[in-house]
């Protein structure tokens, strides 16, 4: 069998964060792949929601995005933003929000809006990206938030350029911030799985992927990363995980690379 790819480790790590019977709002790409894998393995009773109004879609062709008709296929319900983000997420019945991000910082604040390039000191040029869409809503309201993204120093700064979606802003508790959702729970990268310290609410290493050293993770992170004494290794995908990912879920390797 072909060697395990990093994206496959990430998808499997994401899937393992989801429990059977939970309701998940997913973004497109690896979050969607992870969710589909979970449903085909340990969590057949998982419900996946897409913000535009698609429940439990079951695509047979790989979609290029949330607006791609391929992702409407096999759904059990079509509705809209008001139902998914309002009557589910804002209502408080969404267990997990599963997002991508441009930047995420030590307190789990997410930026998907803009980056600032320091051209000359004190003078910054702003470059805009996608903005929030449902990201802020999901990060504010889901019981726990999982972010999946590349591990690069510039993508994991001490503080994001723009807090599009709040984590534990300023290290404060979610209640103190006036937010209902439980906040960031995991950051799944191509090097490690990060969590958050219960008291300081700072990002910490939960596991490192096979072949990666803790020092490497730290070197590629823009802030000092807490870690316990003995960091476990992220479990490898099982042969069945790989078969499902490669043959059923993303045979064209659109997301798995």
């Amino acid at each position: 069998m072909e060697a395990v790819r990093t994206n496959e480790i990430m998808a499997v790590a994401g899937a393992r964060e989801l429990r059977d019977g939970e309701t998940v709002v997913v973004g497109l790409g690896l979050p969607q792949v992870a969710c589909m894998l979970a449903r085909r393995t340990h969590a057949p009773g998982l419900t996946s929601l897409l913000e535009i109004g698609v429940v439990n879609s079951n695509p047979i062709d790989t979609p290029v995005g949330l607006a791609d008709s391929r992702i409407f296929h096999g759904a059990t319900c079509w509705s809209g933003f008001l139902d998914i983000l309002g009557m589910n997420l804002h209502r408080g019945v969404v267990d997990v929000g599963f997002l991508g991000s441009l930047e995420i910082d030590r307190h789990g604040n997410i930026n998907t809006t803009l980056l600032k390039d320091e051209i000359t000191p004190g003078q910054s040029k702003v470059k805009y990206f996608n903005g929030s869409a449902g990201g802020n809503d999901v990060a504010s309201l889901a019981k726990r938030v999982i972010v999946i993204m590349r591990h690069e120093k510039r993508k994991l700064p001490a503080a994001v350029s723009h807090i599009t979606s709040p984590g534990y802003v300023g290290g404060k508790s979610r209640a103190d911030l006036g937010l209902r959702g439980g906040g960031p729970h995991r950051i799944i990268t191509d090097m490690a799985v990060l969590g958050f310290h219960a008291e300081t609410r700072e990002a910490m290493i939960v596991s490192v992927h096979p072949g990666i050293r803790v020092e490497q993770v730290r070197e590629n992170t823009g802030f000092p990363l807490i870690a316990a004494e003995n960091i476990p290794e992220t479990p490898l995908p099982t042969p069945e995980d790989l078969r499902l990912l490669r043959e059923e879920i993303d045979p064209k390797r659109v997301y798995l690379g």
Binding site: S69, F81, G86, T113, Y128, A133, S140, V169, L177
Partner: protein
């Protein structure tokens, strides 16, 4: 009831400069391309556009210089790229962008549709999305308040009632009853919030179709002002159950829109350089292209 069929050109003549237009598209799906093109051809100016998630329609209108204000939740062309004209205009400040979130725009439309002038929400709190709105032009649309029953802190959103809402639908009758196939994102709340609703329909069917399936009617005729019958009216974006997005053309657009000059060239060539949607469709590939994009009747794409 009256026959409300009109041409895109006739409809756009009734939309004045400075109007607030809500667009029913999402990223690369069901964009109101027909009317966006015609707004550009007729050189409409100083428009406010609102939408949960911007797509190609908004990017074209901003790129053509028709817009001076956005009220949006986000925007992208999915995997094809960013809304580059919009982002450039935000970076230069040419366009004032009130950047909300998907749900807060949707709640603002809902309030508008229900005729309540405000609605509370628990999104945006503790974020720079909220701070930037409060600091800028969003100040008149945002307040904070504690719930008088629970004491919980809320953001209050001012209702949005656009002057015109444009919705691209699969099926309508001449009176304006319509069906939307696939997910409906914010189409219903957005349209019902607006003072005027304009439909662009792929297909016109008899009213008896709606009487046979009344539960599927998303917007009933009495709310609708005009219906534009335009097959392939959302090209190059997709319309579920009718046709797929045109990858080649979207790639061409994204490539051109990297620079202001390229975007202008695109707009001159494909929009200002064509008289109407029929001529545009000929230019981008005509019947052969349309046939290729046509949806599989079972899969819907």
């Amino acid at each position: 009831m009256a026959n409300k069929l009109k041409s895109a050109a006739a409809v756009v003549r009734t939309i004045p400069d400075g109007a607030h237009i809500a667009l029913g598209g999402f990223a690369i799906a069901r964009n109101v391309i027909t009317v966006a093109h015609e707004l550009i051809r007729q050189n409409r100016q100083e428009l406010t556009l609102s939408q949960c998630v911007m797509g190609l329609d908004t990017d074209l209108l901003v790129g053509a210089g028709c817009v001076n204000r956005l009220m949006v939740g986000g925007g992208s062309l999915d995997r094809f790229g960013l809304v580059q004209c919009v982002n450039r205009a935000r970076e230069t400040g040419e366009v004032e962008s009130l950047d909300y979130t998907s749900l807060s725009i949707c709640f603002s439309y809902l309030a508008g549709a229900l005729g309540i002038s405000f609605i509370p929400i628990k999104s945006m709190i503790a974020s720079e999305v909220l701070e930037r709105l409060e600091r800028g032009g969003g100040a008149e649309y945002i307040r904070r308040m504690d719930c008088p029953f629970t004491g919980e802190p809320y953001v209050l959103l001012r209702a949005i009632q656009p002057d015109v809402s444009l919705v691209h639908v699969q099926v309508a009758d001449e009176q304006g009853n319509c069906q939307i196939h696939g997910p409906r994102w914010e189409n219903e709340e957005q349209a019902k919030a607006a003072h005027r609703i304009i439909l662009i329909a792929e297909e016109i069917v008899p009213t008896s179709v709606f009487q046979a399936h009344p539960a599927r009617t998303i917007i009933p005729a009495h709310r609708v002002e005009a219906v534009i019958h335009q097959p392939y009216g959302a090209h190059p974006t997709s319309v579920y159950s009718c046709y797929d997005y045109d990858s080649e053309h979207l790639k061409l657009y994204v490539e051109r829109a990297r620079t202001r000059e390229g975007a202008n060239q695109y707009i001159d060539e494909f929009i200002r350089g064509t008289r109407d949607h029929a001529e545009y469709l000929e230019k981008v590939g005509g019947a052969a292209m349309l046939e290729k994009l046509k949806a599989d009747p079972v899969l819907g794409y």
